[in-house]
């Protein structure tokens, strides 16, 4: 475990993250704002605004590092993968760490979402 400033989640957020239970049968959702997949068991109810932003960083990092996402040129994937590495170093039990490899159906869904003409409307 690193120093306090290295911690991705602290206090109540940390408790909420650690209380999540991995549910392998769940299907992913697609985030149109940030182009990643996420699963319902990866987001605890009651997480703070800062905690939610860290989760978004983790989802982006996973998409870049493991799911084949290419970010727009103006963004540096390391911004997000650094958070991922800190989360691993913190020893979190986050269910999202169980989903590094996508199954065929999820891969197909992710590609379909990335190709959508208009993901918002």
């Amino acid at each position: 475990m690193g120093t306090d400033t290295d911690l991705v989640f602290k206090g109540k957020d940390l408790d909420l993250i650690q209380s999540l239970v991995y549910e392998p049968s769940l299907e992913p959702m697609y985030c149109s704002f940030r182009m990643y997949l996420h699963w319902p068991d990866e987001l605890p109810s009651g997480i703070s605004t800062e905690g939610y932003e860290s989760l978004c960083d983790l989802w982006t990092a996973r998409a870049c590092r493991y799911h084949g996402l290419t970010l727009p040129e103006s963004l540096n994937p390391a911004t997000f993968t650094r958070v991922w590495d800190r989360a691993i170093a913190q020893g979190l039990l986050w269910p999202g760490f169980q989903r590094l490899e996508l199954g065929e159906a999820d891969k197909k869904y992710f590609l379909e979402m990335l190709k959508q003409e208009n993901p918002f409307d």
């Binding site: 299907e27 959702m29 109810s45 009651g46 939610y52 970010l71 727009p72 540096n76 911004t79 003409e117």
Partner: protein, 270 residues
């Protein structure tokens, strides 16, 4: 006034301070702050209690923000309960307002206004029976009811049976609505803006002043903005504008804030 029993959790709610007749605003703020950290049921109850107390005791109408701050509000008829409900979000089911929408065969997409014109216009289509619509290859589309959820930090809307449809927003400390997620799931193309509008309506959230779109990293939006496309002409800008117009709101300016995590789009409203 007596201090009410908040489901057996009144202790530690600042209720003792009220009993000792400390400054009312201070006590209600304490009550709000402590309530904001509790479960949604307790928060809702506390919110109603605070609103009612403020109504009875304050010369000026007061409301409670999601982070427990007591703030003065302008009201026409002192509808503090409405305001409190607006700020803390809602839970339960919501039936979207009826909006005539029509699906054409082929792609999962509702007809745009222009496409409806090709069939004689909205009024004509609306007056047609299902059989008449089928004879020209169309059918009605009705958005399903929404399931609303809220916690201390977020307001959400989901569509039962479509787990990929999701709206999530929060209200920042200065009262700005922050839209963090909008996914239309399996709903037809062309319904995202309507989903946004209905989710906002469902939570009684009518943004005033501005709305924040947080950490946008979408692959077309960022390059388009970098190439000088104005935010209102990006797909996300058009979608949110369309949704806001459903609520009778008109964006007056779009501002961008670039960060290492993407772009925040700030939409100012009239």
């Amino acid at each position: 006034m007596t201090v009410e029993n908040l489901g057996g959790l009144a202790v530690g709610f600042g209720a003792d301070r009220l009993a000792k007749s400390v400054k009312i605003t201070e006590a209600l703020e304490t009550l709000g702050t402590e309530a904001s950290a509790m479960g949604s049921g307790v928060r809702e109850k506390a919110s109603k209690l605070i609103s009612r107390m403020a109504d009875e005791l304050m010369p000026q109408s007061m409301g409670v923000t999601p982070d427990g701050r007591l703030i003065p509000i302008k009201t026409d008829a002192g509808k503090i309960d409405d305001f409190a409900a607006k700020m803390v979000g809602r839970s339960g089911e919501y039936v979207p307002e009826h909006k005539p929408m029509f699906l054409a065969p082929g792609p999962n997409k509702v007809l745009s206004k222009r496409e409806m014109e090709a069939f004689g216009g909205l009024k004509k289509l609306e007056a047609m029976s299902d059989g008449e619509l089928a004879s020209i290859g169309l059918r009605r589309y009705e958005m399903s009811k929404l399931r609303l959820e809220s916690d201390e930090f977020s307001l959400q809307a989901k569509v039962p049976g479509d787990h990929r449809a999701w709206f999530r927003a929060s209200v920042s400390k200065d009262g700005t609505l922050v839209l963090t997620d909008l996914s239309k799931g399996a709903m037809p193309d062309g319904t995202g803006a309507y989903f946004l509008a209905e989710a906002l309506k469902a939570h009684n959230l009518k943004p005033t002043g501005k709305i924040f779109l947080k950490n946008i990293r979408e692959k077309e939006t960022l390059p388009a903005l970098a190439a000088g496309v104005s935010p209102e002409h990006t797909k996300i800008g058009r979608c949110v504008t369309k949704g806001l117009k459903e609520l009778g709101l008109t964006p007056t300016a779009f501002k961008l804030v670039e960060t290492d995590r993407g772009i925040d789009i700030i939409i100012e409203l009239r």
